[in-house]
């Protein structure tokens, strides 16, 4: 089944990423942070306001989370973590990225579990190839241009896109390049950045990465950029800050949730760690809501 193929490919990418980081112990075990009890049915999951009120995440808890161990959690656990985060500052500069599917109660992959695990092969059809490619790029490395409220995706290897005939290039509109950690990378898929509504948790805003009007942005090229836009996949991502330099994201295609992802910048994370450990606070660019959030630091304990 094609959707299974998509899921397998995406999962394989995630697994590879996990294996690549198998050295650190905290990356290989699910993080020990509190969660509210839940069951499978949609209405057997706890209200996020209640989760946050009864099970606040301390700063120490946030430092138990890593870009890799989040993938070892159930989707509900990932959701409960996301809901207890705030947007934080809109990032600036290059970030590494990775997508992940949680292990899921059944052990199956989320993408194939739409409609209770049963839609496979029934109402699903055709063409995953282009999504495979998009998936490989959109939720990986990014560059944030905070002042312009703009984001571009970093593509290390244009080969697959070119071989699929999805890259338009001309002298009048040359591809943009950037060097990150000594590697040349291409910049594609521009998106707008703004503070906006989370499609999971309305209690405070998230940072939105919105491709709907990608064609309005400087450097837009019809192919492949339009694939992410309003006439393509209609991709809209939202992110919240786990801790400085580390964001947890949710990706949507045409308003349907498809995959989780993480963004991280080790330099920013390291530079801000001491202060954040002490205060538990950071700049907030977006509306933080009105529910009182408990800041639990080691000092506060």
């Amino acid at each position: 089944m094609i959707p299974h193929r998509i899921a397998r490919l995406l999962a394989a990418a995630a697994a590879l990423a996990l294996l690549a980081g198998c050295g650190a112990k905290e990356d290989r075990t699910p993080p020990d942070v509190p969660f509210a009890p839940w069951a499978l049915a949609h209405n057997a999951k706890p209200d996020f306001a209640s989760v946050e009120y009864k099970y606040p995440l301390s700063v120490a808890d946030l430092y138990k989370l890593t870009p890799k161990n989040l993938a070892l959690l159930d989707q509900e656990q990932v959701d409960q973590i996301y809901a207890r985060l705030s947007a934080g500052p809109i990032p600036d500069g290059p970030y590494e990225g990775d997508l992940f599917f949680p292990r899921g109660e059944s052990g199956k992959l989320r993408l194939s579990e739409i409609a209770g695990g049963g839609l496979k092969g029934l109402l699903v059809n055709v063409a995953g190839k282009k999504l495979d490619l998009i998936g490989e790029f959109l939720w990986k490395g990014k560059v944030f241009y905070r002042d312009e409220r703009l984001l571009r995706n970093r593509i290390e290897d244009l080969g697959p896109l070119k071989s699929a005939g999805l890259v338009e290039e001309s002298d009048a509109n040359p591809l943009q390049e950037i060097e990150v950690k000594g590697k040349d990378q291409w910049l594609l898929f521009p998106a707008q950045l703004y503070c906006g509504q989370s499609l999971l948790d309305g209690r405070r805003e998230s940072i939105i990465i919105d491709y709907a009007f990608t064609d309005q942005l400087p450097g837009y090229r019809r192919m492949p950029d339009m694939l992410a836009g309003r006439d393509g996949f209609i991709i809209r991502d939202e992110i919240r800050m786990v801790r400085p330099g580390f964001y947890l994201g949710r990706a949507y295609i045409d308003r349907s949730f498809v995959v989780n992802f993480v963004l991280y910048n080790d330099e920013i994370a390291e530079a801000a760690k001491a202060d954040f450990m002490q205060t538990g606070t950071t700049a907030q660019d977006c509306w933080t809501g009105t529910q009182q959030r408990k800041v639990i630091t080691a000092a506060a304990k």
């Binding site: 209405n43 109402l123 059809n125 063409a127 999504l131 309305g202 939105i208 309003r230």
Partner: protein
């Protein structure tokens, strides 16, 4: 310089004792001296304010100089409201409640600017609705009532001279200050200067005043349409706006349609969809946005240019197209437009946003003579009660607000005396709570407490949040949303306003007397004059005969007198006054629930499910409500308190046609706006052929009636609607049909620029016509597509489970037939992945019945009571009801 408002003269001292107005004034009789003293205090205060206005010139200065009693500044925009309080004789609490009702948004500006668009996915084009260059067309297009104190920039005496100053909207009092903060932080909301009424005596949370800051009521300033309020957007960037739109006063780049690359079958988009664009204003709505109306006793000469004395707050706007406003930014071939823009003028589907997949627009209830409205004792109610402490009780059932002294609430189940509110009496835990729920249904506290509990129509996975509703949590919302507390702490004021003289009956006699007095100041129009005129039209003795017909035919439901309940119809006096309130004693409705199959009217509203256990408004429904047995005559799910309609009040029926909960019995109304893009009736005529429900050709469509809020316009509409009511066989059937093909999409899709492909999920295009027959738009809104998808999937993987469930619900034969068809669809779709529509077209009963929450179609059917009366008795009944 802002205009100085006229001195609020006590020229309408209609409620002062001893003043003979030459006719009945039921609202004034029996009132206590204290109320008159309070009213006079308000008037005295206003006189001081106004005197200061005259002496000091510009209103903002005058207000500050007036040094009113505690509370400080009186804003220029509030002066006409205080004037209205004086005119209506409202006391301090009633007046405070009025101001809140008209202006408080309780923070829903974020909902109507961000949440609805981004989270719910529905776009409002506020400029299309509020553009000042179409101010004269606003009532005709949207049914909106223009704020008398606002003006179009550049018009005579308008302080603003160009559209760029106001970003294309009206200029309104308070804007001199507000406009300074567009694009900046620091705006102080006028609500911060709201002067609270004294705390009610004996308030459990008193005697110290511990009310939440009035700033959280959030008034902003008027947009020019009453009830729609604006706030400066601190995120606004003028340079970006001008770059997008060409100039500050234009919204062309923001709301202009952008064709879809996929062709005209795909809905056109616009930058309204673009969350990165920050408009100059956040737009909020008060309860008044639907409830503010023209006064039947004193209608405006020109509905586009009313005066304050033409406006009332509680009768309900009979012309509002609030549903069309809410989807004004959507293309008409979207599911959202087809689902929302389904309501007749004066109605709204209040479960369209907290969607229960029951398409059911209903009228905005007219609030009349509320002190006489029936209450029901001994109903079982679980709710929060004010207490002074919680002791050691757990927080889940008892909670005290931090940093307050004994401001606590305890949740407990008790036997209570409550009103039955909403069409089926669903709001049934108390009047205060029913009032507060309105605020949440219009988006207040939506982010903190509401949207996480709503259904996302695109989620088809039963394990995902958003697959279905979960209950709104009152305790959590009180804790987490300051706007909740700001309203809750003042609910008593709003209820007092409901009980006030502003809700008094608006009788035809008085309306006609007002009309003749405009020609001759001392003219009178007595009860005898009214009866004489009615009998000239309806026959000698018609009113007296009509009384007998009403008593014996209608009063068993449409009377609140105990004699009616006891079947003693001869003893009924429908005009007698209540000694205590001075109001007409009979509320002309017993508010009791009646099975919808007995009433026979369009039943979808009665199947509304949001107050059931596990649904969004569970906490606002009583246990007594939910224990009502389901209507045994329905095939649709009808348990959990559903399948009833209240027996509504017939007070002032002359002014409130057309009839029934959906305004469907009687002529269709239309605004005939100059801007034909807003001519919503023309887009969607309703009359169909009774045989096959196909739309009648244009030449056979009965003409719609243009909005006419005049006394005689209302009366003419009343008579035509009564004719339709009493002669059901002569009604031309009405069905709201799809006017364009609509695509219902579940799951993501892909378009790669060369071919259309569905990547995941499915899309179901519902054509506007099938085999030459129109498709009921309600079918779309009522189709339980999630249940269908789940059954379809399980029919393949868990057929035994599905069969057992279907057989239990539909019986042995039908259940097995459904399962067989589900399996058949599964096989067909597996072979032909895009064949779902064709597969369903072969089995339309699945969409129209089995997976429909309501399969009624004729919207003006039912309530056939009285059809057997003689023509003379029908006329008599029409004559008599016009006197009530």
């Amino acid at each position: 310089m802002p205009p100085v408002l006229p001195f609020p003269t006590p020229r309408h001292r209609s409620c002062l004792p001893g003043v003979n107005r030459g006719g009945r004034n039921v609202a004034c009789r029996g009132r206590s001296i204290n109320r008159f003293v309070e009213a006079d205090m308000v008037r005295s205060f206003l006189a001081i304010v106004a005197l200061a206005a005259v002496l000091l010139g510009p209103a903002p200065q005058l207000a500050q100089a007036a040094s009113p009693p505690p509370g400080g500044t009186v804003h220029e925009q509030d002066i006409p409201y205080f004037e209205a309080c004086a005119r209506e004789g409202l006391n301090a609490s009633e007046c405070a409640g009025r101001l809140i009702w008209f202006k408080a948004t309780a923070g829903n500006d974020r909902f109507h600017t961000y949440v609805f668009q981004q989270r719910v996915g529905v776009l409002i084009d506020w400029f299309r609705v509020l553009r000042t260059d179409e101010r004269q067309d606003r009532f005709r297009a949207w049914g909106g009532i223009n704020d008398p104190n606002c003006c179009t920039p550049g018009s005579v005496n308008c302080p603003a001279k160009s559209l760029d100053e106001t970003f294309g909207l009206d200029w309104c009092p308070g804007d001199a200050e507000l406009l300074k903060y567009v694009g900046k932080e620091g705006y102080v909301d006028p609500a911060c200067d709201f002067r609270d009424a004294p705390l009610a005596e004996g308030d459990v949370h008193g005697p110290a005043d511990q009310r939440q800051s009035a700033c959280d009521l959030k008034f902003g300033t008027s947009t020019g349409m009453l009830g729609i309020r604006k706030f400066p957007n601190p995120r606004f960037d003028l340079d970006k706006w001008v770059k997008l739109n060409g100039r500050a006063g234009s919204w062309e780049g923001y709301n202009g349609k952008i064709p879809a690359a996929g062709g005209s079958d795909e809905p056109a988009k616009s930058r309204l969809l673009d969350g990165a664009v920050e408009p100059p204003f956040l737009i909020g709505t008060s309860c008044g946005s639907c409830h503010i109306s023209f006064d039947p006793l004193n209608p405006p000469r020109d509905p586009a240019n009313p005066k304050w004395e033409n406006i009332k707050g509680l009768l309900g706007n009979q012309y509002t197209r609030i549903s069309e406003i809410m989807v004004s930014g959507m293309s008409t071939n979207t599911l959202e437009w087809q689902m929302f823009a389904h309501a007749r003028p004066g109605t709204s589907d209040t479960s369209a946003i907290p969607n229960d997949q029951v398409n059911n627009p209903g009228t905005i209830n007219a609030l009349i003579n509320i002190p006489q409205r029936p209450v029901f004792a001994n109903e079982q109610v679980l709710k929060w009660h004010k207490v002074a402490s919680c002791g050691s009780k757990p927080e889940a059932i008892c909670w005290c607000e931090p940093e307050r002294d004994g401001k606590c609430w305890e949740k407990s189940i008790k036997r209570e005396t409550v009103h039955h509110i909403l069409k089926g009496g669903e709001d049934s835990i108390g009047a205060l709570e029913a009032i507060q729920r309105v605020y949440f249904n219009i988006g207040s506290c939506s982010e903190q407490c509401w949207v996480n509990h709503l259904t996302d129509l695109r989620v088809a996975d039963p394990q995902q949040r958003g697959f279905g509703q979960t209950p709104f949590d009152i305790g959590q919302c009180r804790r987490d949303c300051p706007n909740f507390r700001a309203i809750e702490d003042r609910l008593g004021n709003i209820l007092d306003f409901f009980m006030s003289a502003e809700a008094r009956a608006t009788d035809l006699r008085e309306a006609r007397e007002n009309a003749v007095r405009k020609l001759s100041l001392n003219a009178r129009y007595t009860d005898q004059d009214l009866i004489a005129d009615l009998e000239t039209e309806f026959g000698n003795g018609a009113v007296a005969r009509g009384r007998d017909v009403f008593a014996n035919t209608c009063a068993r439901c449409h009377s609140s007198q105990p004699e009616a309940a006891a079947g003693q119809f001869d003893a009924l006096d429908f005009h007698k006054l209540d000694e205590k309130t001075g109001l007409r004693a009979d509320w002309l409705g017993n508010d009791a629930p009646t099975l919808v199959s007995e009433v026979g009217t369009f039943r979808c509203r009665a199947l509304h499910s949001n107050h059931m256990t596990g649904k969004i408004w569970q906490e606002y429904g009583s246990e007594t409500l939910r224990a009502q047995p389901a209507d045994p005559n329905l095939k649709e799910p009808a348990d959990g308190g559903r399948s009833y309609y209240r027996n509504i009040s017939l007070l002032n029926l002359w002014a409130h046609a057309p009839f029934m909960h959906n305004n469907a019995v009687g002529p269709e109304l239309c605004g005939n706006p100059a801007n034909k893009a807003n001519d919503f009736y023309a887009m969607r005529p309703r009359y169909v052929d009774g045989k096959d429900l196909s739309l009648l050709p244009p030449e056979q469509q009965p003409a719609c009636w243009a909005y006419d809020p005049s006394v005689e316009g209302r009366f003419a509409l009343y008579k035509a609607s009564m004719d339709a009511l009493l002669n059901p066989d002569q009604r031309v059937p009405k069905v709201t049909l799809l006017n364009e093909d609509v695509t219902l999409r579940v799951g993501p899709r892909l378009w790669d620029g060369t071919e259309k492909e569905k990547l995941l999920g499915f899309s179901l295009t519902i054509p506007a016509q099938i085999d030459g027959r129109g498709v009921n738009a309600g079918t779309v809104g009522n189709f339980q597509h999630k249940a269908f998808v789940v059954d379809l999937v399980q029919a393949k993987f868990k057929p035994k489970e599905v069969e057992a469930r279907l057989v239990q619900q539909w019986g042995e034969e039908e259940g097995k037939r459904i399962l067989a068809d589900l399996k058949g669809i599964t096989e067909e779709v597996t072979k032909t992945p895009n064949g779902l529509v064709e597969a369903l077209k072969k089995r339309p009963y699945l969409v129209k019945q089995i997976y429909s929450s309501c399969f009624a179609e004729i919207e003006n059917a039912g309530h056939r009571f009285g059809e057997d009366l003689s023509d003379a008795d029908k006329k008599a009944l029409i004559a008599f009801l016009a006197t009530l």
